[in-house]
Symmetry: C3
Subunit: 659 residues, 3 copies
């Protein structure tokens, strides 16, 4: 079995099955050219059946069988799901939820990150596993815990309250600084003792839910703190692994644009970015492309892995349709096109019981290898085998960056005063979608990223202004590049406080505009904006948020057509030397965004190939073996791969179709 | 006053009224030919005003007045609503809800079944009441407590946790067997001590609500346990009654298809099935007919009673329309037609205060006897008087059975992976409705029922396979009968684990089919199925669930017309000798179900009379006095009763109309 | 700066800003002719930074600057928002919510009114503030706490339970009387010890939410108790103020028709009615007019103030549109027309952080005075300056009264049996809207009001009959007046018990009608009613509730056209001498209500001017300087003021338009 190829396989739980089934599994793996298994994700209960008992008999056998089978191994620390004895003996390891309720044992991904027992025992377990399996043939990565932060992300117990206070003491010089940052003079919240500070939840600062807080500053800090607390769990395990294994990459599986965790805060601590791709619908190509680019951006463009995807259905939706013919291949190749060096499944064999028993798997309950699903899995396996190492390690070069910022995500969605129907991710996906339809290569990056390599930087709703981002955006324009931002940009400082100046705050000079009023409307009500671009384009629908702009150096590109601000500016562009700074003050429909984005792309000659076909995605991946172009037809569910530079290797040109 | 007639009257609470009102009551009972009163349902507080004080003064007077009035008496133990002192002195008698919150005093039907104080005091009270009133003239039944399990059904307190562990030790040999049954290797749930097991609720295995559990096996066992725990309360009281009264039937009022309680587990312990009929809407004839047949099926077809219905409005809906003219009679006669020997009301006189003060009653707040409602009540009373004992004890013979299974109900609705918009009861009512429209006589039976007397057995969505049900269904086919099942059948064992074989699991051989894929769609999206029956019927809409069937011995009867599985089998029929086994892999519209069901009925010559009139229900009841046919017109709200065998008694033929 | 004018200004929080900003503020106040500042509302944390430390340095400076600036001062006790130390040291000051959860520190308006620490410290603080600032030049009112009862109103802790029992002992002679009032024989609730009584919430008598209770009597008493408990907080502070200041009016800001607090129980304790006007939508003229009239009715027609309104947007809605041009003036003048002597804003300067940072303000984050919003604020300020004392103290005479009753509000909306889609406020606004469209002057009064001065009394859904209201309504008719009521009237006594007689209970004789049945339908289903008025008017849609009326002395005015009660009475009128009593048994559409209301108004020659223009509101205000007529065009957002009696002062006639 070749190891120099895209990693292909996935989560494998033979501990749930008798030994004779293992042999059936490996026979099926061979049929499907599966070369990689992820082992041990839910193994805590059997490797440590009691606090003082470690028993590696089963895990040894599983690992040994994988080694014998010549598979690549991704070895998990099993700390994503706690065993019953742990919760029973140390009740504090169970989270206290947003409602303030301490939970008891159940489910998974629900430990309190600040519980001493969890911290101690998870690190100890990682240490023992690393000690035992470091050096295992085929071991290609350590997979720490599982989907940190899911499903709800936060704990609000007394341990967390205490840890939050410690975290705050590290962030603020003293209570005066904290009071200033949180603007506690509002509503008489002046804290005079650190002990007075409690976690913000339904029993304290919140009403309705996590997005409604009396103090954005408190909640924003708590989100950062909780993201850091879970990160500390990861780092603690990683350190213990590194005591034994200095080289093998250590990762944990992320979840794309997952709100509870700021992956940009985590990224430096991972050796490799991996993520689980479970899109909510059946036509999610834009969201998936964005997610791939976001994940790739975590490690400066280095290849990432899809650690999990389902071969057939998910089990957790209200409605769980099967993947249509060809979709399994299409979505896998999309991942590879965007930079994945691994496409792995959850799971190799369907569980016999519990909530994921109908989650798709390589092998169903009957173990069939003659179903449509298995045939598509095997077909893809053989395609990947044939592709070999052609694109391994290859990059996806881009001259356009989209800035994605968890602080802005958190802050905009917990802020009263505008429009609760706007989602930050939705706004970003609006711009990303326009770039995607134009087949422009894009990096999705944090606001701390080096922007010097980009011609175009799009920072939709960049609400929170941190560090020198205003200066670095200005630098893009000054060297002839283009910057685009939208409504809600430049409104809040790092503590979610308003700037004491016109919106867009510190970005005002760059864009040459000020926001005089911010109007809102419910979904379904629209204004119209005409854009003075490309001659006389179709008017675009504008909805939800309507900033009435007053140009102060910018030219007016788009104007509202209705309401009392008919004729006022909705979209502006400031030219500064060879550069341009665009401000879009309303939520434009795709037609409007396409017009603006393509105007900008054309200025830099970055409009991609086949930009006239809205179903055809084209992505180039460049590496040691040249450039491969992936043509992904999301309507037909077909894929074409071209070796465009150096001239195509005649040994590999392929087009998928379902077998 | 005749006692040999359908019991007519209902819940009577004179303890809420001064004595002079009692005389008004009895005068009105005479006017309406009311011969039965249910006494004592909410009497706990006045018969036992403190733990060590029993005071029967009031109850004695109430009973004495009923005896003087020559009424039949249904005497309740008042343990459905606890008095304040009990909750105050023994807080553990208040339930801990699904959210984990221990309640305090309020409402009713909310005791913890495992609270020692409740167990002790309710049994003691039943004992004293039985001791005092056994032998009362006219006493026709003991009515234990009230509507067990309502409104939410379950308690999750520490007493229940402990009792659950005891119950589990009775069910499973050891923890190994339990771990195997619950498939606890999934998500590292291996229990190593019984004390680690906690009730499954919002603080442990559940998210979103009672239908979302990480471990179906745990939740399924908890539902069974809770049903059994409440049953133990009933049995405990019944035993105390039997110490004094060896003969009078003991019952409790059920609620038709009520999900929290598995009435099939309870039925052997009751002497008589009774139920409360409060349909949610104004045209519920199918649901009510089903419920009557389900309740009649609890005691092998013996007559049951409608213990409660409202004369006018319910009070608990968001909108509470009055019963239209004639509906009171229509629905009462429907119950009688389906086997009821009693039609009783809640309540005789409207309560002056509290949440049911506007619930309908025989006598309204003004005590009027000249209203439309009272006139209809009295008219029905006189009709019943005239009918006398004509149908008392008569049966409703049926050669078609529908299998209804609480385990399948619970399991399908807590299972991830298919479609959360499907309701088990809805699926069963789909098939039952087709039978109803065809005026076929139906028994609704548990999967443990003797099936040897049926020509047709329809087992929609028989998801959980228990005992020898597969063999017994096969036997029906082998002797020339017809069996019908649907999607989701044969999927789970008694512990809700998947069978390690193709769906429909152990039913696969019988139906000669396997399910290759199970697709789902949200409500509103439909496929189309054409059925090769009756020439070329109109295509039927198929929705929600789409099993792609691979015949393995069956012939294809219905095929999908759309999507990638157009042309694949949706409905199959396997002929085996003279018998047939039908499998319906999707949720067909009424047109499709009618086509299938009528094809089957015609094969056995069981299509009923007037099957072409969708509003006209025809039911025959056979007994000592011959066969009476009830023609119930649900559009016109009229009833005709024919004595069809032996030739009609000229003394009794009637047609209701509102007075 | 003139003091003899409508108070203009609002909430001012300079403690949140450095001193140099204060000077900018006052410069802007001058520009906008702002003469009044409300100070100290959220000052608790800085005037009392610890239990034993009072520090008035900041508040002294703020007051001093206002005095220097010649402003009128409204001085708040800052007890609406507790400081962290208070909640930390005395956890019982945090409310226990409807779910039974004790909260921890956060938000505001959330103290337990029965917490000893809150009671003691709030009174002490009021005392110290009054001691210090009594006699301050320009001090025109004391503003105690803030928006009592918001946002959720009630606490359910053990302190409250104990205080509730004390309150009940004051209301009921003994437990027998209490049991009788609550009808506790229902569901075995006979209380035998006061300690058995617990607050009615989600853990006791309630399901689904605050509107679903097993015992309306208990919940009704708890609402009264909680309203009284908060009132006791107010009274306690007021008493402490009065120890120092015998003369300055003491008020607190109400919230119009705010369900949790019975403002009629509070009104006698206030010297002045004030309220905060935050309508939920953009066309709320009827609701606002009603609210003004309700607030004016609290103090027998004396002028009130709008204590808060937003200059631009609210921040707390899901969608927060800006006020359209002219609307700020239009709504302010509407308040003045209806009797306001003050129109004040929340807030003078936008907060830098926390949940109201985008709530509208006189000065935005940039402090601009050149925006549309500021210009409209300043324009209005100068208009008010020009108006001077012309209408100060003037009254709004009315010969029509609408009765509004919190007990009926609470009771109808917590009662099972009719239709949960009906809102009491909605019903009242239906009738009020018809009066408003007819430009009839209206007083909104409690059922205890002196009705002798009214020609017309409209008492929609006057469900709870208290005291001698039936006699007083009868007296209106007997002296030739007209009384109108609607469905649900006369149903319940003070304990929410049904009257043991036909509906409308004690009102039956007066209206000459009885309700035979009460039918209901969901929203969207309608019956039709034809009214025998004005020749042959268009039939009106009737919805939700359908009382089938039996005239007993009344004539039939409206009849149902559909359903089984087609032809039965829906609307009746009883003539008694020169008087009339109308009963409207269903929820008529505006057309139907207009027809009835105008018929009544015309009878008394009370139809107002311009009654044919549904957008034009006309209100007269009469005082020392004669009568001013306000013509408010809610479509055009313009206002015209006419001095109609004595003949207009040529110095003041104005028409607003946006500047």
């Amino acid at each position: 079995m070749t190891t120099s190829q895209i990693h292909y396989g996935g989560d494998y739980n033979p501990e749930q099955w008798p030994r004779d089934v293992w042999e059936e599994d490996y026979a099926a793996f061979d049929l499907a050219a599966i070369d990689t298994v992820t082992i041990g994700v839910f193994a805590w209960a059997h490797v440590q059946p009691a606090e003082d008992v470690y028993d590696f008999t089963m895990l040894d056998a599983i690992v040994q069988r994988a080694v014998e089978g010549g598979r690549k191994i991704v070895l998990a620390t099993p700390t994503g799901a706690m065993p019953p004895w742990l919760a029973h003996e140390y009740p504090e390891v169970n989270r206290t939820d947003f409602q303030g309720r301490r939970h008891v044992y159940g489910q998974r991904h629900n430990h309190c990150p600040n519980a001493p027992a969890y911290q101690r025992l998870s690190a100890e377990l990682a240490d023992r596993i690393a000690a035992r399996y470091t050096g295992t043939p085929g071991l290609i990565a350590w997979h720490v815990a599982n989907e940190y932060g899911g499903p709800d992300g936060s704990c609000y117990c007394d341990h967390c309250a205490a840890a939050f206070r410690v975290w705050l003491r590290g962030r603020y010089r003293d209570l005066d600084e904290l009071n200033e940052a949180w603007n506690t003079m509002f509503w008489s919240h002046l804290f005079t003792d650190w002990e007075q500070i409690v976690p913000p939840n339904a029993l304290s600062e919140h009403w309705r839910g996590p997005n409604h807080t009396a103090f954005q500053g408190i909640t924003l800090d708590y989100r950062r703190f909780m993201s850091d607390a879970l990160l500390a769990n990861f780092v603690s395990e990683k350190e213990r692994i590194r005591r034994h294994d200095a080289a093998t990459p250590v990762t944990t599986n992320f979840m794309g644009p997952f709100r509870p965790i700021d992956y940009h805060r985590w990224a430096p601590h991972l050796d490799l970015a991996t993520w689980d791709n479970y899109p909510p619908g059946q036509r999610e190509e834009v969201r998936m492309a964005f997610s791939h680019d976001l994940m790739r951006g975590l490690k400066d463009g280095a290849p990432f892995w899809v650690m999990e995807q389902t071969p057939t259905i998910t089990a957790s939706r209200d409605v769980n349709p099967v993947k249509r013919p060809g979709v399994l291949g299409l979505w896998s190749w999309q991942a590879i096109a965007h930079g994945a060096d691994g496409v792995l499944y959850f799971q190799m064999r369907q569980s016999r019981g519990a909530c994921e028993k109908y989650h798709g798997a390589v092998l169903d309950h009957a173990g069939r290898t003659d179903t449509r699903a298995f045939k598509e899995i095997a077909y893809l396996g053989h395609q990947l085998q044939e592709l070999g190492d052609a694109v391994l390690g290859a990059r996806v070069p881009a001259r356009t960056a989209v800035i994605f910022d968890w602080d802005s995500w958190w802050t905009t969605e917990m802020t009263d005063g505008f429009n609760r129907h706007v989602s930050y991710l939705g706004v970003v996906l609006g711009y990303y979608g326009a770039l995607w339809r134009a087949n422009a290569a894009v990096d999705v990056v944090p606001c701390t990223a080096d922007l010097s390599g980009y011609d175009i930087v799009i920072a939709p709703a960049l609400h929170v202004v941190k560090g020198d981002i205003a200066d670095r955006l200005r630098a893009v324009v000054e060297r002839g590049g283009t910057v685009v931002t939208s409504f809600w940009a430049g409104r809040a400082d790092e503590s979610a406080r308003a700037f004491l100046m016109d919106a867009p705050g510190p970005f005002g000079d760059l864009f040459g505009v000020r926001v005089e009023e911010t109007d809102s409307a419910p979904p379904g009500e629209a204004n119209t904006v005409t854009l003075a671009l490309r001659g006389d384009p179709t008017p675009s629908a504008a909805s939800l948020v309507f900033e009435i702009l007053e140009p102060e150096g910018a030219e007016v590109i788009g104007t509202y057509q209705q309401d009392f601000y008919a004729g006022r500016a909705a979209v502006t562009r400031r030219r500064a030397g060879a550069g341009e700074a665009w401000y879009v003050g309303t939520d434009l429909d795709p037609n409007g965004l396409d017009t603006i984005v393509r105007t900008v792309l054309e200025r830099h000659q970055l409009l991609g190939p086949h930009a006239d076909n809205p179903d055809l995605e084209v992505v180039d991946r460049e590496g040691m073996n040249g450039t491969y172009r992936f043509l992904l037809d999301h309507a037909a569910a077909t894929v074409e791969i071209q070796h465009i530079s150096p001239p195509p290797n005649p040994d590999f040109t392929d087009e998928t179709s379902h077998p």
